[in-house]
């Protein structure tokens, strides 16, 4: 039996309770496949449980390789989940849904225009005013003649569910800053790769033309007549719930991903801070909720938006998408009035029904809700997170105190769909998120969507949504006039924040790499000498372990070598550990995701896998195995950066790398070569240093295996041709800094770099190796001085290129009215 047959047999079994059955997305009550699946039956039916398990693990790997994460509120980022089985909707079933969604978006836009303008809905009594005036999404700063906007809603989303009869109903409208379209696109990308046969078989609508349409809508929405409007995607930052989605959208559309601190208000307009210059911003696709987007007139002290944004909108100098006031549409109390509003504003009947909702501001509805508290879902109109579920008495009290702030909703018996779990395919309920775009003068729903799978009421996974074409030759998305997305590339928007993240990207990559090399070197020696501390090898091992401890403090004794190695690789909380560097590296990369190649995430997925392997296997050789694979991952970032455009961001990665490499080398030499430990131990240590500094081969070629400190220092300090030497690093930094905008040849970082070069020129290897007792004081002094100077250089680069504006602070609420 194949997986789908088993599933079909299971779900068509009569239930013992005999209660009403859920609608199944794949199997009809008589056991036959639904229309959409019938077309794919040949392929789909063949899939066995083991096929599905393979596909499931492929999906996990692809999502990890693409670095797709989702951050549940108040939690750490976790992997995005995707089920192999898509939600399939055939053309005949989709057609009325599409018409209904388009009408709904048009209606929502008309509602916005009315509520922020003439307010006919309120004055006529069609809509009770307290449900608008009492909703936090109704922004009075946008409800002025000066802020009027004929098309405040450019991208609407809705969550839909199917009832037991198979009819789609709207559960909620999302208009504030709809998320998920990036996840939808990513889901499609992955499913098309892991189930190519099924995907090819299905004549389904591809999504790309919708993205192109979205891009032109955003560009066309620019106010004024700028020939080349600048569009930005405003993100609340990498820690937000859907930061992957935001970066995906920015990257796919070729618009820079910015944060509030990158933008500033001047002359009534919004500008982006680029290299100390200001560049005008025409359109902001906001992913920041309106309340947080203007510290001047909305929530004070918010740093997520742009102070003054409301004024810029009122002056018509910038377009915010969706309009600042759009959040009012997310009010569930609007649902009972949709039909009447549709009649009034569009003069036609409402096509798509909403889930049955009762607004408690209405006397009769309130009585009904209070009588049916146990069977209804009671929600606040604008506060989705209410903490612990309130008791019956609490609910009653809240509703009676502020009746206009609550609704009761009939729970929908959602449809179910086969979902892969530990025990094979199981029916799980789902909801469908749809996206509707204003394109030209009409609203176009995305022919597709994002399905969320629920388990015990909580979203646990997602599904791709396949809408099948009526005829295979139908244009994708029904759009024939859009241009393909070619050569769309985020214009290098090098805000100080981005440059800083790039710089640290370079530094952390190098820090991780150097520590991995040091661990690999030390571990190799440990394999031979861990039980022979009295030998020269044992002595050099002890020195190397001290070098590691100097970079990353630990409390492990010399008898806990493996624990120490594992911790330096895995413990995120241990400062200087590889895990910590990789975490910081990933954070830096995430906040500049739009600037980096997707290959970047492959590197992280391979370091992640190496970490997991090390966590799972406790053999000592796994340390070297995993460290080696982590190193391969980190090194692949080098390949990724090699293919980057030579822009200031790339230069900052290079400068960061060179500075960090110099610092790490100074530290390594300082802790291994400035004290004499006998000829044999010193020779072993020098070889270890060469290995950790990736210069063994060069050294062997140049010195024919004859190891002397002078030769080692010559190669690592002053050799201009060794890419690992301090001298080479000077050359790299000089080139990078000279190419940075604002460089004059005499900026402070450049002057500091000249000093470093002079210091290196003056360095006399013979003098540096001079001995006093057991010590080499000249070398110690030189290395300490050089490292300190490098740190100063790093600071100076930051001051010149990353200087951020002061943080905005609110004033004025202190103006307490006196008598």
């Amino acid at each position: 039996m194949t997986a789908l047959r088993d599933y079909s047999a299971a779900v068509t079994q009569p239930t013992l309770t005999g209660g009403p059955a859920r609608y199944d997305e794949v199997v009809a009550p008589d056991g036959s496949l639904r229309v959409g699946w019938r077309l794919l039956a040949e392929q789909a039916i063949q899939l066995t449980d083991s096929d599905l398990r393979r596909v499931g693990s492929d999906i996990e790997r692809f999502l990890a390789d693409d670095g797709v994460t989702y951050t549940p509120p108040e939690e750490e980022p976790g992997p995005w989940r995707l089920d192999p089985f898509p939600l399939i909707i055939d053309a005949a079933e989709w057609a009325p849904l599409e018409v209904g969604l388009a009408q709904r978006a048009e209606l929502l836009n008309a509602i916005l225009v009315d509520l922020y303008g003439p307010q006919r809905l309120l004055s006529s009594g069609v809509l009770p005013s307290s449900l608008i005036f009492g909703h936090q999404g109704f922004l009075r700063v946008a409800a002025r003649a000066s802020a009027s906007d004929a098309r405040p809603l450019l991208l609407a989303a809705a969550d839909l569910g199917r009832n037991a009869a198979g009819e789609w109903q709207v559960l909620a409208d999302r208009a504030q800053a709809p998320s998920g379209i990036g996840f939808a696109m990513e889901n499609r990308r992955v499913i098309s790769r892991v189930m190519p046969e099924l995907y090819r078989q299905a004549a389904l609508h591809r999504m790309a033309p919708f993205f192109q349409a979205l891009r032109s809508t955003l560009i066309d929405s620019a106010p004024g007549d700028s020939p080349n409007p600048r569009v930005v995607v405003l993100s609340p930052g990498t820690h937000s719930e859907t930061s992957y989605d935001q970066a995906f959208v920015a990257t796919s559309l070729g618009f820079p991903l910015v944060e509030g601190s990158d933008l500033v208000m001047r002359e009534g307009a919004v500008w982006m801070r680029v290299f100390g210059r200001l560049e005008r911003v025409d359109v902001i696709l906001r992913r920041v909720d309106a309340a947080w987007s203007d510290a001047l007139e909305l929530r004070k002290n918010s740093q997520l938006g742009v102070a003054g944004l409301s004024e810029a909108v009122r002056r018509g100098s910038v377009r915010v998408v969706n309009g600042l006031g759009a959040g009012v549409l997310e009010n569930p109390a609007l649902l009972p009035f949709m039909s009447a509003m549709c009649e009034m504003l569009l003069d036609e009947p409402l096509r798509l029904p909403s889930v049955q909702t009762y607004w408690t501001g209405d006397d009769r509805s309130r009585a009904y809700v209070l009588d049916n508290l146990d069977s209804l879902v009671v929600r606040s109109i604008d506060d989705p997170v209410e903490g612990a579920a309130p008791s019956r008495d609490q609910l009653q009290a809240r509703i009676s105190a502020e009746p206009h702030r609550y609704v009761g909703q009939e729970p929908l018996m959602l449809s179910q769909s086969p979902t892969l779990g530990a025990g094979g395919l199981r029916p799980q309920t789902l909801t469908l998120r749809t996206f509707t775009l204003r394109y030209g003068s009409t609203y176009r729903p995305l022919v597709g969507g994002l399905a969320h799978v629920f388990e015990a009421g909580r979203p646990t996974s997602s599904k791709d949504v396949w809408v099948l074409k009526d005829r295979p030759e139908d244009p994708d998305q029904g759009l024939t006039d859009v241009l393909p997305l070619t050569n769309v590339r985020a214009s290098a928007a090098m805000m100080p924040r981005v440059l800083e993240d790039m710089f640290w990207f370079g530094r952390y990559a190098e820090r991780a790499e150097d520590m991995l090399r040091l661990v690999l070197t030390a571990h190799a020696i440990a394999e031979d000498f861990r039980s022979r501390p009295q030998t020269a090898g044992g002595a050099s091992l002890a020195v190397l372990m001290r070098a590691i401890s100097g970079l990353s403090r630990s409390s492990f004794g010399s008898d806990q070598l493996d624990e120490n190695f594992r911790s330096i690789l895995l413990d995120v909380r241990r400062s200087g550990s590889v895990a910590q560097s990789v975490t910081a590296l990933r954070e830096a990369a995430q906040s500049v995701r739009d600037q980096l190649s997707p290959d970047t995430w492959l590197a992280f997925s391979s370091t992640d896998r190496a970490s997991s392997a090390l966590e799972a296997y406790h053999y000592s050789h796994q340390v070297a195995e995993s460290a080696g694979r982590m190193l391969t991952g980190i090194l692949s970032l080098q390949g990724m950066t090699a293919n980057m455009i030579r822009d200031p961001g790339w230069r900052m990665i290079g400068a960061g790398r060179a500075i960090e490499r110099g610092l790490q080398l100074c530290h390594l030499l300082r802790s291994t070569t400035t004290v004499r430990r006998g000829i044999d131990a010193d020779r072993d240590l020098h070889l270890a240093v060469l290995s950790a500094a990736e210069s063994t081969v060069t050294h062997r070629r140049r010195y024919q295996g004859y190891v002397r400190l002078a030769g080692v220092l010559d190669l690592l300090l002053v050799d201009p041709d060794n890419p690992r030497s301090l001298a080479f690093g000077i050359g790299e930094m000089r080139e990078h800094l000279a190419e940075m905008p604002g460089s004059t040849g005499s900026t402070r970082p450049e002057r500091l770099l000249d000093d470093l070069a002079d210091e290196l020129d003056r360095a006399d290897i013979v003098a540096l190796t001079a001995i006093e007792g057991e010590n080499r004081p000249n070398l110690a002094r030189f290395l300490d001085g050089y490292a300190a100077q490098l740190s100063r250089l790093a600071d100076a680069v930051g001051e010149l290129h990353f200087a951020a504006a002061p943080i905005p602070r609110s004033f004025g609420f202190a103006t307490a009215v006196q008598e």
């Binding site: 009594g125 504006a805 004033f811 004025g812």
Partner: protein, 291 residues
């Protein structure tokens, strides 16, 4: 008819340069049936080109400004010449039982849906159970709304002490009850909380009151201050403005600047600064001179 020249100077001083100040000011008096604005001028020092007025949701003039030249002192001076008359009230409408003055119940009155905005809770006028109970003593069943709210005004004046020291930016309705003291802003918020908790619509009004010098004394220039009071919606009868601080209905010695749901909607000056400065100080000087 009274005629006043109002000058209202707000001065912010910082211990270091501020590179960027953005602000919103509510300093332009409203044009009303009983109030005419003869002239108005707003000047900023450092001066700025970027200063524009706009009518807000409630019809108040809000002025947006941005100063981007580095400054350690920002001086905002508003000067207005205003003519005022006593607002008139139709006794008949004031006799409406207070229960029928709740906009939620008066779909038959043209502007009830708009008044409803002022019957809902707002952040600075929390409708506590204490406020509800306190107001209930004035809102006896069937009592005429004019009489009932005037009674509440008398009681607030009698029960709460005027005390500048008792109030801060974060003063809540609970604090006011606990201290039995406050300033005009607090008494206005208290009136809002009390009456809104019973479904009446009440506005927060910000403006000035021309002070009378004590008998035989000269008027002291600059001794005046900004003022605040409350106005209650009367079906078909406009808004009855009452000043619980001075225990009287608003008359022709009052200059109305702006109204909103509470102080936060119409703060005379609020803004955002970009600076490394640690300390700032604020000075407000108001003068309402009869002319």
């Amino acid at each position: 008819m009274n005629r006043y020249r109002v000058s209202h100077r707000t001065t912010y001083s910082y211990d270091e340069d501020v590179s960027d100040s953005l602000g919103i000011a509510y300093l332009v008096p409203r044009e009303l049936p009983w109030q005419h604005v003869v002239s108005h001028e707003l000047s900023l020092d450092p001066s700025t080109e970027d200063c524009t007025g706009d009518l807000d949701f409630y019809g108040n003039t809000s002025t947006y400004f941005q100063v981007t030249s580095p400054h350690q002192v920002l001086d905002i001076l508003a000067t207005s010449e205003v003519e005022t008359e006593p607002p008139s009230h139709d006794e008949h409408t004031l006799d409406t039982p207070w229960e029928s003055a709740r906009p939620q119940r008066r779909a038959d009155v043209a502007d009830a849906w708009q008044a409803q905005d002022f019957a809902l809770a707002s952040a600075l006028a929390d409708q506590t159970t204490e406020a509800h109970a306190y107001a209930a003593q004035s809102l006896q069943s069937g009592r005429p709304v004019g009489e009932a709210v005037t009674d509440l005004m008398h009681r607030i004046h009698a029960d709460f002490a005027y005390d500048k020291a008792s109030t801060t930016v974060t003063t809540t309705i609970d604090d006011i009850f606990a201290q039995r003291a406050g300033v005009c802003q607090d008494f206005a918020h208290l009136t809002l909380a009390c009456l809104r908790s019973h479904g009446l619509a009440v506005r927060y009004v910000s403006g000035y009151l021309a002070t009378r010098p004590p008998p035989g004394k000269e008027r002291i220039v600059g001794a005046d201050a900004t003022h605040a009071w409350a106005a209650v919606w009367i079906p078909d009868g406009g808004w009855l403005a009452l000043d619980p601080t001075n225990d009287q209905w608003v008359n022709d010695r009052y200059v109305t600047v702006a109204w909103g749901r509470d102080y936060a909607d119409v703060a005379p000056v609020k803004g955002v600064i970009f600076t490394e400065a640690k300390k700032s100080s604020l000075k407000v000087e108001v003068d309402v001179a009869p002319i």
